[in-house]
């Protein structure tokens, strides 16, 4: 009977999500769409940080590139929408590979900081190139195809794409490839010793994470019809990282929980109080003290050798 629990729960959840726009007010359907795409973004980050142990501190740049790629294709070229939805994530994946090849020699914290620096340079280009990217004004009124532009339609599109991508990532994580990268996370030296090409696997993860991050960016364009340079700024990278940590980076759905919590909190709490930071900070502190591996953590906490340096 236990084998049925997970798929049954999943079915219930999916049914609820599909029914959602018919039961809740328009605004809530919109917020739900934002939650879904942010959760997708967080899950893509977690491939790098939770499953492979790569300190991906600049993830937002892939989100932004995915969004800008799609928005620019839709506004500046006559190409059909499906092309635009591919351009964004592909551009993000390519960028991820390029940045990865520069940063991969570094470990942990250094990798993260270099990635942030490179990401900041990308941000600076987008921010200043007003004639092409709209600079700090961003791009608005992106012509999204009518079929998916209404709040309900954009929600369903987001739901479908997110479900598909999350499913794909889940398969990846459960596959032999997924086991290898977790092995790399736990002990890169041993992984190399048994013949695993560590760098190649890490680059592969970065490309995949970048790709799905870019997909999340494209979904943002569908839901909001706008892009802003802030989407790729390091503060947002940090926010997505916090979502993973909050929800639990060692569980697959942890980032989902973290993203939902933070997006919902941000939308609904800031309506009622101006001290949103205080509330979020307090909640985070409590989570850290009482739930050491995030909300969904604990189940798969990896064993750490005593005295192992945390570099």
């Amino acid at each position: 009977m236990r084998r049925w629990r997970a798929p049954f729960a999943l079915f219930v959840v999916m049914a609820a999500l599909v029914a959602l726009p018919h039961v809740v007010p328009r605004f809530h359907a919109y917020v739900a769409a934002i939650v879904l795409l942010t959760a997708l973004l967080a899950t893509s980050l977690n491939l790098a940080i939770g499953y492979t142990g790569i300190y991906q501190f600049g993830h937002a740049v892939f989100y932004g590139v995915g969004a800008y790629g799609t928005a620019l294709t839709l506004t500046r070229t006559g190409m059909p929408a499906p092309v635009a939805f591919l351009v964004g994530p592909l551009a993000a994946a390519v960028l991820s590979l390029a940045m990865g090849m520069i940063c991969i020699r570094l470990s942990k914290l250094y990798f993260g900081m270099l990635q942030i620096s490179l990401g900041s340079l990308v941000w600076a280009v987008v921010y200043r190139w007003y004639s092409f990217t709209g600079g700090d004004d961003g791009i608005h009124g992106v012509p999204v195809p009518d079929a998916i532009s209404s709040p309900k339609a954009s929600y369903y599109f987001t739901l479908a794409v997110t479900a598909l991508c999350v499913f794909a990532m889940h398969r990846i994580v459960r596959s032999p490839f997924g086991k290898v990268i977790q092995g790399i996370r736990d002990n890169p030296v041993r992984a190399a010793a048994i013949g695993v090409d560590v760098k190649r696997h890490q680059l592969a993860v970065l490309v995949i994470a970048g790709f799905f991050g870019g997909v999340a960016g494209s979904l943002f364009v569908v839901v909001e019809n706008s892009v802003f340079p802030d989407m790729m700024f390091w503060t947002f990278s940090l926010e997505v990282l916090i979502m993973c940590l909050l929800g639990g980076m060692y569980s697959f759905f942890g980032p989902f929980v973290g993203a939902s919590a933070i997006v919902l909190l941000r939308v609904f709490a800031s309506v009622h109080t101006q001290y949103w930071g205080l509330i979020l900070g307090t909640i985070l502190t409590l989570v850290i003290i009482f739930l050491p591996d995030g909300v969904l953590g604990v189940v798969t906490r990896r064993p750490r050798a005593k005295g192992e340096p945390d570099a």
Partner: protein
């Protein structure tokens, strides 16, 4: 997975419970603006000016028998939050009208949303000329000056002066470049003899201008156009004061003579700085302006700044347009507002039908010490009426998608 499902159940339940607001028998105005951080010094004035007018109108029976009510949402100076909050106001709070915001990127995004949702949006404080220009449309209204307007007014004033060699400097973002280009390009058409020696751009929020100031002084320009945004105004003036920059080279900043820039510095603000502003509480010294200042001080215990004018007039335009329309109908409301002329503390203001931009005078002056106040004020003030400096309808609507 085990913990995920209960969590999801709780989340979805709470989510569904969050109710929907019903629009009552009032005119509900939704403010989406930045109410955290440094921008509040400007945005609070907009809200307070609006409140002052709205309360007065409500006391006299409201508009067509309905009272004006308002709700505010904080966008934290971030466009994505601003867009979400605007959607919340429209979809959940069911506001009749939108007002906001000081962040131009947010204003443009919300403007686009307003067009889709067919809800009138009054832009207060954002200075991008695209709002009522290239990206303008039926549902957006500009209640203050934009970079194009400020640039032209300043160019007019500067073209009469004898400076030839110019240097441009400022905050490295869209607003900075727009102001600098607005001033210099028009100056060049009015006075072809002017030359641009060079440019310096620093990051937004820069605190140490000394390296840039030394570079500019080394180039020996006659005049410097300094394009700093709200936060950078005081920082730059402080640096000018401590390096003596203002005594070595004359320079100009948009809003240099405004109270929000000069008051925090007290008696230590630099003198001799050229600036433009839309509102000065001491000029013109007319009955209308004095009454406005008096009323504002009584209500809020401080002098009104430009934002107060924008907020106050927004309320007036809203009220009058509904009255003229005769009923609470958005389309009739917009038709009624086009071309409307109202009296204001700074004289007559007109809402242009062609681009929905309000005409207002621009004041050009120089900072100087004041005996009566603990802060500097503007001297040698020249008032440039709207019609003399604003771009024509043809120019602003060029490039608009139809």
């Amino acid at each position: 997975m085990r913990r995920f499902v209960p969590f999801l159940a709780v989340a979805v339940t709470l989510f569904c419970m969050a109710g929907q607001s019903v629009a009552g028998d009032t005119i509900k105005v939704g403010f989406v603006d930045t109410y955290t951080g440094p921008a509040t010094t400007f945005t609070n004035d907009v809200l307070d000016g609006f409140k002052m007018a709205a309360e007065k109108i409500n006391a006299k029976g409201g508009v067509l028998g309905k009272k004006i009510t308002w709700v505010t949402r904080d966008d934290k100076f971030k466009p994505d939050i601003g867009l979400t909050m605007a959607k919340e106001l429209i979809l959940k709070e069911n506001v009749d009208l939108l007002v906001g915001t000081i962040n131009s990127a947010t204003a443009l995004a919300v403007s686009d949303l307003a067009k889709k949702e067919k809800i009138p949006f009054f832009v207060t404080f954002s200075k991008s000329d695209k709002i009522t220009g290239e990206k303008g449309h039926r549902y957006v209204f500009g209640m203050n000056e934009n970079t194009e307007m400020a640039g032209r007014a300043t160019a007019k004033a500067l073209s009469k002066k004898k400076y030839v060699k110019y240097w441009i400097a400022g905050d490295d973002y869209e607003y900075g470049h727009a102001i600098a280009n607005g001033v210099f390009n028009h100056l060049k058409t009015l006075n072809p003899k002017v030359q641009l020696l060079g440019q310096s751009w620093w990051k937004v929020g820069e605190s140490d201008f000394t390296p840039y100031i030394t570079q500019i002084l080394a180039a020996k320009p006659d005049f410097v156009i300094v394009a700093t945004g709200g936060g950078g105004m005081v920082n730059f003036q402080k640096a000018a004061q401590s390096t003596g920059f203002n005594r070595k080279v004359p320079f100009y900043q948009h809003t240099a003579i405004e109270l929000s820039t000069l008051m925090p510095q007290g008696k230590n603000a630099p003198e001799g700085v050229y600036g433009t502003a839309n509102y000065l509480f001491y000029y013109p010294n007319t009955k209308e302006n004095k009454a406005f200042v008096e009323e504002f001080r009584k209500a809020y215990n401080r002098y009104p700044k430009s934002g107060a004018l924008y907020g106050y007039m927004t309320a007036q335009f809203i009220a009058e347009s509904f009255r003229k329309a005769g009923k609470i109908d958005r389309e009739k409301f917009i038709d009624a507002m086009e071309g409307m002329k109202l009296a204001s503390p700074v004289g007559g203001m007109e809402m242009r039908s062609c681009d929905h931009q309000v005409t207002l005078p621009m004041f050009f002056g120089v900072t100087k010490k004041s005996a009566q106040h603990d802060f500097l004020i503007a001297g040698e003030v020249v008032s440039v009426p709207g019609k003399e400096y604003m771009p024509s309808c043809a120019e602003t609507t060029k490039g608009r998608a139809k």
